[in-house]
Symmetry: C2
Subunit: 338 residues, 2 copies
DNA sequence: GCGGATTCTGGGAGCGCTCCCAGACGGGCA
DNA sequence: TGCCCGTCTGGGAGCGCTCCCAGAATCCGC
């Protein structure tokens, strides 16, 4: 339909002509830009500006040895509940880190079952690297891609460690901080509603709590596992209450579960924080609107995206001495619930 | 660093050789696939399968007349609060609609101020079309792109109508339904906390409420404008309460504002829904976890993404008689607050 | 049985770039 | 002055596809 007789915009030769140089030189300026005299470089830049030239991505990719694109892979299933605000934040971070560079961001969603096509695509040279948001840590995708020679950075500590670099919030320390806070409040019976133990985010936050109660000589028996939904948080709270009616604090491994827990506490006539102090995790939008507003542990989702991207690009650039993995600091946010 | 001496995987000629045909024929099968005998087609498909061939995107784009890619443009600013879950849902819908087709999805974020580069990029033939998520309806970006010949579909009704097709939830009807529900409950003094009036989502939801109170012969004076944050919802509720202490119902134009309103009502000793019935909008995750759980209007965010994509692809395919724009139905979700 | 229409196939010229190679130019040193 | 070497530049061969054109194969009716 739209037969604009070939794509619009000037070609590299037009720029070369305008600048009075060859297209090789323009190309040189566009890329590394070494071995070009300042006068020439400026002339080229001027011509580019004047003509509004924007290099053809497909041609660069075809001719060059890199794809000038990276992929952000999100798992379809994981993206249901937890991932929503999480994902948007990560994406923003990724994008921030990418601006200025001429690198395309491809977003893909991995099906739980059949990733055959995606693996073929990604390892087929269409992208230079991949960012994998691995919410359910057991996903073999990062390993597969990495084994095929594609640079990969995982967001969230993977369950199978392997040698794929990852970036994650420091869930362990965050949970530890939260528990220490409860201890410092003088709480004696500190429970936890833990996340699923097949996800490192669940595992690490539980470990942090264990360490926290351990170092304060408190019993570490009040653990109920749950699955990152408000309802499961509610039933976990019920179970805790029936097991230990004397509990006076709960560390809940995710704000969204904390909402369910708060509901049960309220229904049971326990005052928060007077009778039971509650600390959540994530500092999602839910936390500030909860009743009462939730004291929680903040993780910088956007920084996660930025750091993942930085790590990947650094690797692509061939930088040496990169950290295999990065843990991002977390910080307590004090509100009313503890 | 990773000098894999050219990209891995077979080329189209390998496939042609394996199938005993020419590369032209393989190309034909890959694309439209008309004018190819069934026997040949099957042989080619077999060869593709056997070799695990995946066509080189850059080469197709360079040689062909289309880019085989579409862009999803999100505004950086809008993506802060409102957009988070919204965006993930839309993206999922877009992706769903794209699977199977060999079309890349590029995600870009538009800076509020400088979109110069992005416009150049998008209208430079790098993508075949664009999906623009326009949360702040006044954005001229869709018009600009469209004027430059790029097919565009906007998500959310734009403020400047123009001739750019859009897909939106039927905010008007949704608000009308909500208001009618409050009327049917026998409420007499029905207020609204409206959204910003520089966004059509705010305008349309207010219109729906006006229509609803109007057709029930109720006064339409209890309007307070707010800005889609819990705190602004709270202060709006305070204002309403002081202006009309006898109000017995509120339609809040977004769940996130309703949370603030609920807080104020609770603090003021009003029982929800007994004293004041509250209906929200969006059916976000916030609604079900609110206290009390919020009756609200559900908009199908994923369907929005799917529909936008369908509309764009249909246009790219040159289909005739496409609807200029589409309004997606909304549905009431009844919980405890009204 | 033959001409022409119809269906199918192959050849090859680009698409717009990068990157290798060779050549032009100039400056320092013996 | 002559030679070498380093800096800068231009030419041109691809990258892997699509798409146009021409030619081969098949079919049909008279």
């Amino acid at each position: 339909m739209t037969d604009t007789s070939r794509r619009p915009g000037p070609r590299i030769v037009e720029v070369a002509l305008a600048a009075g140089v060859s297209k090789s030189t323009v190309s040189r300026v566009l890329n590394g830009g070494e071995q070009v005299s300042d006068r020439t470089r400026q002339a080229v830049h001027l011509a580019i500006e004047r003509l509004g030239y924007s290099p053809n991505h497909a041609a660069r990719t075809l001719a060059g040895s890199k794809a000038n694109a990276i992929a952000l892979v999100v798992s379809e299933q994981g993206s249901r509940v937890l991932a929503d605000p999480f994902f948007a934040g990560v994406l923003r971070g990724v994008h921030t880190e990418l601006t200025g560079r001429r690198i395309q961001l491809l977003v893909m969603m991995s099906q739980p079952d059949d990733n055959h096509d995606m693996v073929a695509y990604l390892s087929g040279g269409h992208v230079d690297g991949a960012l994998v948001l691995s919410l359910h840590g057991g996903d073999p995708l990062p390993q597969i891609l990495s084994a095929r020679g594609l640079p990969v950075v995982v967001g969230g500590r993977p369950l199978l460690v392997g040698n794929v670099p990852f970036v994650d919030a420091d869930n362990f320390t965050g949970a530890l901080q939260a528990t220490r806070h409860l201890v410092s409040l003088g709480r004696k019976r500190i429970a936890t509603i833990a996340g699923p133990q097949d996800m490192t985010v669940g595992i690490d936050r539980l470990s942090g709590w264990r360490r926290g109660v351990g170092e304060a000589q408190r019993p570490a028996d009040l653990v109920v596992h749950s699955d990152f939904t408000p309802d499961s948080g509610a039933s976990a709270m019920e179970e805790l209450l029936s097991r230990a009616p004397d509990l006076d604090a709960v560390f809940v491994a995710a704000d969204i579960m904390a909402l369910g827990a708060l509901r049960v506490l309220r229904a049971g006539g326990r005052k928060v924080p007077e009778d039971v102090a509650v600390v959540g995790f994530d500092d999602s939008v839910l936390a500030s609107t909860a009743v009462p507003p939730l004291t929680t542990v903040r993780q910088e989702v956007e920084a996660l995206g930025r750091t993942m991207t930085w790590r990947l690009l650094a690797e692509l650039a061939g930088e040496e001495g990169l950290p295999p993995s990065v843990l991002l600091p977390t910080a307590m946010v004090f509100r009313d619930s503890a």
